[in-house]
């Protein structure tokens, strides 16, 4: 059930904000973790397997953003 026509622009902006915000948050988090992990790997290369999941953990944030964006896209008429 699409939202009323006058709300569509706001929904579009909301989608953009969601993706941009979660993307930024993920990037920031991964930057910090990534820098620390590379330091750790330089000291102990065998930590690679332990560190990789840590680096990609924040990616979940942007995935949530994406899901919300998809749900909101469903409210947009064609």
């Amino acid at each position: 059930m699409p939202a009323p026509a006058e709300a569509q622009g706001l929904i579009g902006m909301a989608i953009a904000l969601t993706v941009a915000g979660t993307g930024l948050a993920t990037a920031w988090a991964e930057k910090v973790i990534g820098a620390a992990s590379v330091g750790a790997i330089a000291e102990k290369p065998e930590l690679f397997g332990r560190v990789l999941p840590l680096v990609v953990i924040p990616e979940t944030i942007v995935i949530f953003g994406l899901i919300i964006a998809f749900l909101m896209l469903g409210q947009l008429g064609t």
Binding site: R50, E59, T60
Partner: protein, 681 residues
């Protein structure tokens, strides 16, 4: 694993070490000094000499910059290894000293040349710059020519060359001149030692440098010849010596008494007979099993120091996936090796994310080609990874053909609502045959369905994780095992609620049946339907939240409280996040397909279609040629980007969402005495 004990008389020590090394069956447990009143053994007499030569050899190898090439077949190294290496060392240390000396001299020369060079531009002798009582001399670099020196002092003499300036000023005016010069970007240069014409000095220095450089080249050439001649010998000798040292130092890991030695270690249970046979030929030596099929004495599920080492054993095609498990951690002796699950979930997730018959086929063909080229390569990280990716390519091909129905971003059949010319293009039209496979899921249209599919994958994957955890805990701790049951209940509750929400309408706007509806009514048709209607968030009278699912959630939380304690309740929403996290399968899949589609639009609309419409043979051929080359480049980008993301995300789903549910790791890998391994990665 069987704990083995080998006891023998000391005179047989050396021969025993030899044969143990050859058998490659025993993971030796180091004996500790003073334990049970037994001392540790002393290294064999060959040890000190061998390690001494080894040190020399390593220094020679580093001087010659002999790189560790692939392990040379250890050919018999001649007996006079020591003499050969000592004479080589003498030879090389001389050359190396000459090289270092010349390098130092060259550096010195270069510095002197840099100092003198500017002065060679000015028409003065070096002696002219110093030795005045009443004059101050400023020599230095200037950015650009400085005018108006007379404004600082009426009485001066200046010499200049491009970028250079030498000013002679009577002492009383020197302060004013200095300030003036500094204001105009003057930086002073030190006057070099010595006297005479700087031009002459410079040319002498340059000639000297040339001579030295020629000499350095000579020495380097001699070292090169030496390297070429001895590289093979050096790496063979190094391998030989390393083996000798390892053998000679093995007694350090044994326990000894005055007349006997004792080796303790782990042997794969079924290989024990082989070990016994291998050691039979020594009189007075006997091997015995301390415990067969080692039982674990204590009940805690965590790893313990006395645990046997772990040898992972999987069917051969699955073995490369052990690398992915070990990259995280070696499983400990008390838990199930998750490789058999990973061997399917990793390539299936990869396949879902790539999900394109064309890319899958290319991956497989390229992978097999590389695999054949690497036939003789040892099973290192990259070779294992390659095999896992060939599997990934296989699943991508499968999903691409039967599920998503597309190759290189072009579908087998165009979508029903297609309107533009690019959208209408499909493989059936290109090939002129109606491909009999109809896709159940169009990636770019049915994003919600793709997400539902991801959640389904999440449920299956996480449920397997909890079940493995349940089996792991069952033998040790009933309480933890019940905790896993609680999590399984909560997971199922969440899953059912999500599926019910997605099963709201039997058909969507385009007339397709949503996946959620299919799963709810076909796969989960047996699930009790009665439930709580909450229309505001999409649970209408046709799809109420089932009471059974609510019961599972509440019951699961209750059971969790009873077994694992209140702290674990915090992870309740973590599990929800885990499930949603699998939506990355859909996200990456859609993003990759959209990228391929966008590149196709660019190529088709700017090159291929205009060429087709022109009706001119030359532009037709030209347009097609350029279009195909650019399309190749574009698709190569999508191919690589898609593969890299798919690998990382597939590993991540296994490491973060899956392993954390049950995997403890921290096992000791089985490393039999005699197996020489290089660290992975």
């Amino acid at each position: 694993m069987t704990r083995a004990l080998i006891i023998g008389p000391r005179e047989n020590l050396e021969a025993t070490v030899e044969s143990l090394y050859g058998l490659k069956l025993v993971h030796i447990v180091d004996h500790r000094e003073g334990e049970e009143g037994l001392e540790i053994g002393r290294p064999l007499p060959t040890a000190s000499e061998a390690s001494e030569i080894l040190v020399k050899l390593r220094s020679i190898a580093s001087v010659l910059q002999v790189e560790e090439t692939k392990p040379t077949p250890t050919k018999e190294v001649a007996g006079d290894l020591r003499e050969k290496i000592l004479s080589l060392e003498l030879n090389i240390s001389e050359e190396d000293a000459a090289k270092k000396k010349t390098q130092a001299l060259l550096q010195d020369l270069s510095r002197k040349i840099d100092e003198v060079r500017p002065f060679a531009e000015l028409p003065l002798s070096l002696a002219d710059y110093r030795g005045y009582d009443s004059l101050e001399v400023f020599v230095g670099k200037v950015g650009r020519e400085i005018d108006g020196l007379d404004s600082a002092s009426a009485d001066y003499e200046a010499f200049s060359a491009p970028g250079l300036l030498a000013v002679f000023v009577p002492k009383p005016q020197s302060a004013a001149m200095r300030d003036f010069l500094i204001q105009h970007g003057f930086t002073s240069l030190p006057v070099p030692e010595g006297d005479g014409d700087p031009r002459e000095i410079l040319s002498n220095l340059l000639a000297e440098r040339e001579r030295r450089e020629a000499r350095l080249k000579e020495v380097e050439q001699r070292l090169d010849t030496l390297r070429e001649r001895y590289a093979g010998f050096l790496s063979a000798a190094k391998a030989h010596l390393e083996v000798t040292v390892e053998k000679a130092e093995a007694p350090l890991r044994f326990a000894v008494t005055d007349h006997t030695f004792i080796v303790e270690g782990w042997v794969p249970t079924e290989s024990f007979k082989q070990l016994e046979r291998g050691l039979q030929r020594f009189p007075g030596l006997f091997a015995t099993e301390l415990e067969q099929n080692h039982r674990l004495e204590h009940v805690e599920p965590g790893p313990s120091e006395t645990d046997p080492p772990v040898l992972l054993r999987n069917a051969k095609p699955l073995r490369p996936f052990e690398m992915l498990v070990r990259l995280f951690s070696t499983p400990n002796y008390r838990e199930i090796d998750p490789t058999f699950v990973l061997a399917f979930t990793f390539p299936i997730f990869f396949g879902l994310m790539v999900g394109d018959a064309g890319y899958g086929l290319v991956w497989m063909v390229y992978g097999f080609w590389l695999f054949r080229r690497w036939k003789d390569r040892p099973w290192d990280f990259w070779k294992n990874l390659l095999v896992t990716l060939i599997w990934g390519g296989f699943w991508s091909l499968l999903f691409g053909v039967f599920f998503f129905g597309e190759a290189f971003g072009i579908p087998f059949h165009h979508p029903a609502l297609a309107s533009t010319r690019v959208e209408l293009l499909d493989w059936s039209a290109i090939l002129g045959v109606n491909i009999p496979l109809h896709t159940p899921l169009e990636k770019l249209e049915q994003i919600t369905d793709f997400i539902v599919l991801s959640i389904f994958a999440a449920y299956v994957h996480l449920a397997i994780g909890f079940i493995i955890g349940l089996v792991n805990d069952l033998g040790h701790n009933r309480k933890h095992a019940l905790g896993k049951v609680a999590w399984l209940l909560i997971l199922t509750g969440f899953f059912v609620v999500m599926i019910v929400r997605s099963a709201r309408w039997p058909v969507d706007a385009e007339g397709r049946t949503p996946f959620g509806y299919l799963i709810w009514n076909k796969l989960l048709g047996w699930f009790p339907r009665d439930g709580y209607v909450y229309a505001q968030i999409g649970f209408g009278p046709s799809n109420p939240i089932p009471w059974a699912a609510i019961g599972m959630l509440v019951g699961g939380v209750g059971l969790l409280l009873a077994t694992e304690g209140p702290l674990h309740i915090m992870e309740f929403f973590g599990l929800l996040a885990n499930i949603v996290s699998y939506a990355r399968l859909a996200a990456v899949g859609v993003a990759k397909a959209a990228m391929a589609f966008a590149f196709n639009v660019i190529v088709l609309e700017t090159m291929i279609f205009p060429a087709l419409d022109s009706g001119n043979v030359v532009s037709l051929i030209l347009g097609f040629l350029i279009g195909i080359i650019i399309a190749l480049v574009f698709h190569f980008i999508v191919f690589l980007l898609g593969a890299v993301t798919a690998i990382i995300q597939a590993i991540r789903l296994n490491y973060v969402e899956f392993f954390i549910k049950f995997f403890r790791g921290a096992g000791t890998p089985f490393q039999p005495f005699g197996e020489r391994t290089k660290p992975e990665v």
